[in-house]
Symmetry: C2
Subunit: 305 residues, 2 copies
């Protein structure tokens, strides 16, 4: 799929330093997005999880796509922050004792371990509500109709038609050995894919992209979202085989259905590569400007952790 000319450009593009620079901009915006007022405890709890690090992939995808479609960083930044607020909220609620019951995330205690279950539930609610308020009040130089489109997509992405629906089917599927690849794909397209797709598409909408461009970028995003999950599943197995001393695969322990358990590792690798190839093919019309999105797609299948 990649021609020799494009290959040369790829090798010149430094994804690591690109992501690092973008992460810094996003961290600064997030830091300023949520000042502490009364009652302080809830704001501290929200900030604890929102500013706990992470790749900031969703905000970066949003900013990058907005720029690709000739928008500015400023147009997309409030939505970029909102995407991270929504992602953070879903992590806080997923970690609760009534859900996955996790004590640690990214090496730090989970929100409810620090602030208690009641505050953790409320911190998630607060971040979710604030995400919509933030887009509605902070977005500049974008036509109101476009802002409404983005808000509609964000809502759909979090709700029962998105994250929430994916998490429900995930909870229902645990410990069952009759999960089909259809169900598995439903879970992942809703639980992780939908927010990645919205990150990309929202950036395009805010920049005023055409329906055709939005379709292409949506397909790009859907493909990398699913490829990301397949690679995650593969790494959960191979990382335990290759890196001695590491805990055995978490998915195996939890008896979770995964792509390798349905297709085998080799076929899973092939499927992930095919998805990434198709994702990159969607970017053909955009030339050199699409390098960041191409590099992110390539990184997804080549990453080692």
């Amino acid at each position: 799929m990649v021609t020799l000319g494009e290959q040369a450009v790829i090798s010149q593009f430094n994804l690591t330093s690109y992501l690092k620079e973008r992460q810094k901009v996003v961290e600064e915006a997030l830091e300023q997005s949520l000042p502490i007022i009364r009652p302080e405890k809830i704001y501290e709890s929200m900030r604890y999880s929102l500013l706990a690090g992470g790749k900031r992939l969703r905000p970066i995808l949003c900013l990058t796509t907005c720029e690709l479609m000739n928008g500015t960083l400023e147009m997309a930044m409030p939505t970029a922050c909102a995407l991270e607020m929504i992602h953070t909220m879903s992590l806080i609620h997923d970690d609760l004792p009534a859900m996955d019951n996790d004590d640690y995330r990214r090496g730090k205690l989970t929100n409810h371990k620090v602030y208690g279950e009641d505050i953790a539930i409320l911190a998630g609610d607060g971040l979710l509500a604030y995400a919509f308020e933030f887009v509605a009040t902070q977005t500049r130089n974008v036509a109101p109709q476009k802002i409404i489109e983005v808000i509609a997509r964000l809502g759909r992405t979090v709700g029962a038609a998105g994250l929430v629906g994916g998490q429900v089917l995930d909870l229902e599927s645990e410990g069952r050995d009759d999960i089909t690849s259809d169900t598995l794909t439903f879970i992942h397209t809703h639980k992780t894919g939908a927010l990645l797709e919205t990150s990309v598409v929202a950036g395009a909408i805010l920049a005023g992209a055409s329906e055709e461009d939005i379709q292409r970028l949506s397909r790009y995003a859907k493909n990398i979202g699913l490829a990301f999950q397949i690679v995650d599943d593969i790494l959960d197995i191979t990382a335990t085989q290759e890196e001695l001393g590491k805990t055995a695969g978490k998915d195996l322990q939890a008896q979770k259905a995964t792509y390798p358990s349905l297709w085998g590792i080799e076929e899973s690798r092939k499927q992930a590569q095919a998805l990434v190839d198709d994702a990159i093919a969607q970017l053909a019309a955009y030339g050199e400007k699409a390098e960041p999105l191409r590099a992110i797609a390539t990184y997804i299948v080549t990453r080692k952790h």
Copy 2:
């Protein structure tokens, strides 16, 4: 505050039948707002609580104010439904074991008792996200900038600056005997007052009301919201004295600070009446058309349960 001419009009206006007719319209809209798709369980859980009855006061206030400001029911109906989704979400999460741990609400088992804690948390998240999606996708014949204003207000009303913040301070205050009337008012203006105010103000914004009208209606709503809470506190005490055989006051049991505990019952009654008088005074300019809002205000201080 009420002149003789107005008094005559009030006696002609039948609030009970007005509320009944409006409730019916709202119930129909809510019934249609949330079709069941895959995964069915989460939609059933969301519908279980959303369609569990109740006065539908928030949607009715929104519709009524929109009409008062010469808007149509159609303009306000999606926001009216969203207000009830948000209110329902706050009840589901407040009832959770980690919060108030209630088994029953309006005579029915609470959401988590029927569907489990995990689904109840997700149903709340789903309703909250859907509220924003619903306003953004379903509102017709309203300028996009007004829709964004309403979304911004809804977000602020649910988040740490509203419902969530009020609930946090309420949880922190339980069992303490040093709660000031300032703190008590902070709790109520955030936990219940903010959503009532937004119900009224959103209806006005959608109808294209002037800043002056919005200010008046906002003051009306703030006053009836606080009066409603004071009367709630009074009824929690007096209902136990008057109606033999009923459970002792829930607030007393929970050692909650209330207005009667700070001010005494007589002074609380006076304050509630003063707030309602001021609320009704805000409506002076609107004549007969404001009868529903006047009657709702009067009902708040005269109700017996």
